[in-house]
């Protein structure tokens, strides 16, 4: 009998717990952050920029912008400063009237200046906090992260969503990279790998009489240890992706066989790569072999490409373009001494015994590394048009 | 406040346990369970009134380090 009463008590307790104990959070008491911008100010302080959704604005946006020209804002960009990121966040509580909720955060943007001083201290908070996802996309802004967040996307109401879509699309262009917090952490923690992070920039976009700022995915930031040291342009970025084996699709433009000024575009259908580390007399030699299958996507000349000779020629030219891209990326990375290709890791895996000696001076070894590039390409299909239409 | 809560909780546990044991004349059980309860009460009470108790892990660690190094 006594124990039955205890059972009832327990049931009562459960009822209390079901309603959510200490950690309840009501939607209307949260400021949901979608993007986090990190900048370093001149006095060494950290400035955080949050892109916070305004739930009430969403309701009235259906009535379009009101008569006095003021645009409805669905999002609020606010900044806060402090000596550390966490302090900045808590300082921000003076102006943000609701509890900051980072679990929905999708994007972390780091300003160029802050990145030059090292990113690992800036990412520690995000890595440590249990509400920030490891799958956040990380970007390096050319300029200040705050400016990027204050720009607006024309298509999407939510800039973070727009950035997420942009970065998803890199799969079909292979001109920019997609780097999540997890990727960055992986290469930061490794002794030989150096991280790379996709970059963002603001470009002027003239729409009628007024010019607007537009956020654009551009270039890839390169890091030595955790300091920003240089950038890969889109061509070099493609080279990087070839070596990493992350090219999924994209367009390769080659000169037409008959006329150098006319271009032919080839769509990458399939690509794979093999990286073969070797040691020759104690000197590391790397062989990168890329295999690619493409389709003829477009031709701007008028000769018939659908002949075996022309196809062969296109394949060769395509291979040359790929080689050039890889070589460009290698040259820049070796000049800067940043091993973004994970070559060091490959040596570690293949030569565990010899590697400690190499690792000691990996930067120099990498700078002097001989890399052989082998590219095999194939052309498969040519679309619906067998021959170009001409008079 | 906390002190009162601790005393209250332990009194309730004692009240739930004891009458049954006394009625059934299970004296050994009564002794052992009161022993456990008293130990628990002393430990809780000391912590609640703010006395720093040593961490048992530290003791084990010291012994192990003495033997392994």
């Amino acid at each position: 009998m006594k124990y039955r009463s205890i059972l009832y008590l327990l049931c009562l307790m459960m009822a209390l717990m079901v309603s959510g104990c200490w950690n309840y959070s009501e939607l209307k008491e949260l400021s949901i952050s979608y993007a986090l911008g990190i900048d370093q100010l001149d006095d060494g302080q950290i400035q955080l920029t949050l892109l916070i959704s305004l739930p009430m604005a969403g309701k009235s946006s259906s009535q379009k912008s009101n008569s006095n020209g003021g645009e409805e804002k669905g999002y609020w960009v606010t900044t806060m400063t402090g000596r550390t990121l966490f302090e900045a966040l808590s300082n921000g509580r003076d102006q943000v009237s609701r509890k900051t909720f980072l679990a929905q955060n999708k994007v972390i943007i780091i300003g160029e200046e802050a990145a030059k001083n090292g990113i690992s201290p800036l990412l520690d908070l995000a890595y440590r906090r249990h509400d920030v996802r490891e799958l956040n996309d990380v970007f390096i802004a050319k300029g200040k992260a705050q400016d990027i967040l204050e720009a607006k996307s024309e298509q999407e109401e939510n800039l973070a969503k727009a950035l997420e879509n942009l970065v998803e699309a890199t799969g079909s262009t292979s001109k920019a990279t997609k780097t999540t917090l997890l990727d960055v952490m992986k290469s930061l923690v490794s002794k030989t790998n150096d991280p790379f992070i996709s970059g963002l920039e603001l470009v002027d976009h003239s729409a009628g009489k007024e010019t607007k700022k537009l956020v654009k995915l551009s270039d890839t930031a390169l890091f030595k240890d955790d300091r920003l040291v240089g950038w890969f342009n889109p061509k070099e970025t493609r080279g990087l992706l070839w070596i990493l084996g992350e090219v999924k699709s994209g367009i390769i433009v080659v000169d037409a066989p008959d006329d150098e000024s006319k271009k032919v575009a080839i769509e990458i259908m399939k690509a794979s790569r093999k990286v073969k580390p070797e040691l020759m007399d104690g000197k590391p030699v790397m062989t990168v072999s890329v295999e690619e299958v493409g389709n003829l996507g477009e031709q701007m000349t008028s000769i018939n490409m659908a002949t075996p000779e022309n196809f062969k020629e296109l394949e060769n030219r395509q291979a040359n373009v790929i080689k050039e891209e890889i070589q460009a990326a290698l040259d820049k990375a070796q000049a800067l001494g940043v091993d973004v290709f994970k070559f060091g890791q490959e040596y570690h895996r293949k030569f565990p015994k010899e590697f400690p000696a190499l690792e000691e001076n990996w930067e120099e070894e990498f700078k002097n590394l001989t890399v052989n590039i082998e590219v095999k390409t194939k052309l498969n299909a040519l679309g619906l048009a067998a021959e170009p239409v001409k008079d | 406040m906390k002190v009162i809560a601790v005393i209250l909780v332990f009194t309730v546990i004692a009240l739930i346990q004891t009458p049954d044991l006394v009625r059934k004349k299970q004296w050994r059980e009564l002794v052992v369970s009161s022993l456990l309860l008293t130990l628990g009460f002393i430990l809780s009470f000391l912590q609640v009134i703010g006395i720093e108790l040593p961490n048992p892990n530290k003791g084990v660690e010291a012994v192990v380090r003495f033997f392994t190094s």
């Binding site: 307790m13 200490w22 249990h130 923690v189 | 052992v32």
Partner: protein, 365 residues
């Protein structure tokens, strides 16, 4: 008769397995142990032969005293001093229960509910577990049979969802620092397996005595397979270097699940399943401890001891769980094995020797 219930060998394996796995899922200690590189998965496999070999004292003791539990045959072998050994084990079990509950309240407050006071978890969970232990071994066994598959399915589901993000190359180079460190870590893994004591206490409740071999072999195999899965998942996903920097590696792995941007943030489901297992674990610990106490002092009932035991474990666990750094230091490979090995290998070994010398119990092969 203290306990009239019987459990099947399957229930027993699952009970012990759940109890051990729950700890390893949250705190994957193997990752931080030697050899400290991508070869730690070998350690997990290494634990199997070690476990089968080093648990032999328990096995032969159980063969000699097939009607008696661990706490009963210590007295049968040693006489009065056997009670001292028993009390030592009780203290050890209380320490381990308090340590477990302290670890888990830290795990929960770190990963999910950071404002809830740890004391709240400790008290509610222990009271509920005490209720399960109150119901006896039979219902605990049945409950485990229900819960353990849920936990296994969740873990396997998590691993399957992560397969696409794994990189088998993370396991290379193979055997970078030789086999010896793995051997040591195998010992460490074995030493964390204090469920062997639970096994020794519960064996008399096995419904078919002949199933002893099944439990003795099935439990470590299941354990090693799962531990290997966890470790390999974490390493293939993060690479060893990053995994080493994480407090809860497997939990971090679950956080990265993303299937087509639809199935994401599944960690709450995981923690829910995990809590069920934790409930079983604490119930088992409480049950074995009170049963042990009653057997040492020849009590007729063990149930009145449950609440006093809970009231003792809670303050001890607040003592132990002051901060996670101190706790991790204690459970690290430097301290913990030398402490726990005494209880799961050395003392049983000498007990067995004494039993053989004094011709206590009869050996029935």
């Amino acid at each position: 008769m203290l306990e009239g219930g019987k459990i099947t060998s399957k229930q027993m394996i699952l009970l012990l397995f759940t109890s051990r796995m729950i700890t390893w899922i949250a705190f994957l200690f193997v990752i931080f142990a030697p050899p400290g590189n991508q070869d730690v998965w070998i350690d997990c496999l290494m634990a199997l032969p070690l476990q089968l070999l080093l648990a032999l004292p328990f096995y032969f003791l159980a063969k000699r005293f097939d009607k008696q539990s661990f706490f009963e045959y210590t007295t049968a072998i040693l006489g009065k001093p056997g009670k001292g050994i028993g009390i030592l084990y009780i203290l050890f079990l209380i320490h381990m229960s308090a340590l477990s509950i302290a670890q888990f309240s830290i795990f929960l407050t770190t990963v999910l509910m950071d404002i809830t006071p740890p004391l709240f978890f400790k008290i509610t969970l222990l009271i509920l577990s005490a209720f399960a232990a109150y119901k006896g071994i039979e219902s605990l066994g049945r409950f485990t049979e229900l819960v353990a598959p849920i936990g296994m399915i969740v873990v396997l589901g998590v691993v399957l969802a992560l397969v696409k993000d794994m990189d088998p190359k993370e396991f290379l180079p193979f055997l970078e620092s030789g086999l010896f460190p793995s051997f040591f870590t195998g010992l460490y893994i074995f030493s964390t397996n204090i469920e062997l004591i639970m096994m020794a206490v519960l064996l008399p409740f096995l419904n078919h005595r002949g199933k002893l071999n099944t439990v003795y072999i099935g439990f470590p195999i299941l354990l090693v397979v799962f531990l290997f899965t966890l470790t390999a998942t974490v390493i293939a996903l993060f690479g060893y270097d990053l995994a080493k920097t994480m407090t809860f590696p497997f939990y971090s792995a679950i956080r990265t699940i993303s299937l087509g941007n639809i199935i994401e943030r599944v960690e709450s489901i995981f923690v829910a399943a995990w809590l069920l297992g934790l409930y079983v674990k604490m119930a088992l610990y409480l049950y074995v401890t009170v049963l042990g106490i009653s057997q040492i002092f020849r009590l007729k009932v063990y149930r009145p001891l449950l609440l006093p035991l809970v009231s003792l474990i809670v303050p001890v666990s607040t003592l132990l769980g002051k901060n996670i750094v101190e706790m991790n230091e204690f459970t690290s490979f430097e301290i913990y094995p030398w402490y726990a090995l005494n209880f799961i290998f050395i003392i049983p070994f000498f007990l067995l020797l004494t039993a053989i010398v004094r011709r206590k119990g009869e050996y029935r092969p």
